[in-house]
């Protein structure tokens, strides 16, 4: 169980929602190159803790989540481009957090589906369960489905929020809504070490 009041999560949530986010700091990755470099450092850190090939899977999951932020918000960031990437160890769990200040899943998916999406939750369900991409003209859109499948089959846990919608999965899926709005995306991946 991820503690929502842990310093890392509080910091990531604040970074993603505050009006004046800091555009510096160890967690802030303003470009994909910086994000990928820090992701690789994290993978090597995980490998050094002896979790073996799971480190590669974790890298793949985080790369898909963070890659989506860059792919879908290119030229459309609300203000600050890039993502927040942080990690921490607490109570035998390794936690990795990715947040962005982008358009959010609903606005992204809405570009690619006919009709109006009912709410943030239906958009999030589409993104994780159906093969669809928010990039019109592109036939892809499997990243979040891959993330879901890997998380569910490898003993990891995922918390993903966009707008008011929250998706949590480990062995089972749980969908909910929150009044603590987050316009972009926040993903928290945790796994035992």
């Amino acid at each position: 169980v991820i503690d929502p009041d842990s310093p890392l999560l509080v910091d990531a949530f604040a970074w993603a929602t505050t009006e004046q986010p800091p555009s510096y700091g160890e967690q802030y990755c303003e470009s994909r190159d910086v994000f990928n470099a820090r992701l690789e450092r994290l993978r090597l850190q995980h490998r050094s803790r002896g979790i073996g090939e799971r480190a590669d899977l974790i890298n793949a999951v985080l790369a898909e989540v963070g890659g989506n932020s860059f792919d879908h918000n290119l030229g459309q960031w609300r203000d600050l481009p890039g993502v927040y990437l942080g990690d921490a160890v607490a109570d035998g769990l390794e936690i990795a957090v990715i947040a962005d200040r982008g358009q959010g899943v609903r606005a992204t998916i809405q570009r690619a589906v006919p009709g109006t999406l009912e709410n943030d939750l239906s958009a999030l369900q589409l993104a994780f369960l159906r093969r669809i991409t928010g990039r019109v003209g592109e036939r892809r859109g499997n990243g979040l489905k891959f993330v879901r499948e890997v998380v569910r089959s490898t003993g990891m846990s995922l918390y993903f929020q966009s707008g008011s919608a929250v998706y949590q999965t480990s062995a089972e899926d749980a969908w909910s809504e929150t009044n603590r709005l987050l316009p972009g995306c926040l993903a928290v991946l945790s796994f035992p070490i």
């Binding site: 992701l39 799971r54 590669d56």
Partner: protein
Amino acid sequence: MMTIQMRKFGTILNSRPAGREALLAIMPTLPIPAPRADQPALGLPGGAAPEDIELDFEGVEVLTPSFAEEFVVSLRERYPGRVRVRNTHNVTVKTTLEFLAQLGSGQNF
């Protein structure tokens, strides 16, 4: 058979732009695609069969669907039935290719 050593694009193959760039980089060296049914056959030298392409994942440590869709799936679409893979023992290579095959994007890797 043309073999492409995937590790020459890097050991971490985890982004969509990198997959696209890799495909563009390798494109000039690829065999001529077989003509579609509605296209005239231009005639390969000596009536040779079109060359197969083998993707060798030895040394690759991370492969994601984003990279694979841009590179591997695009190659499969360009050369249907002629792209094979080998050395797919890394867990992310195996998981990604199996995942795409399930979706019908990779077709029996």
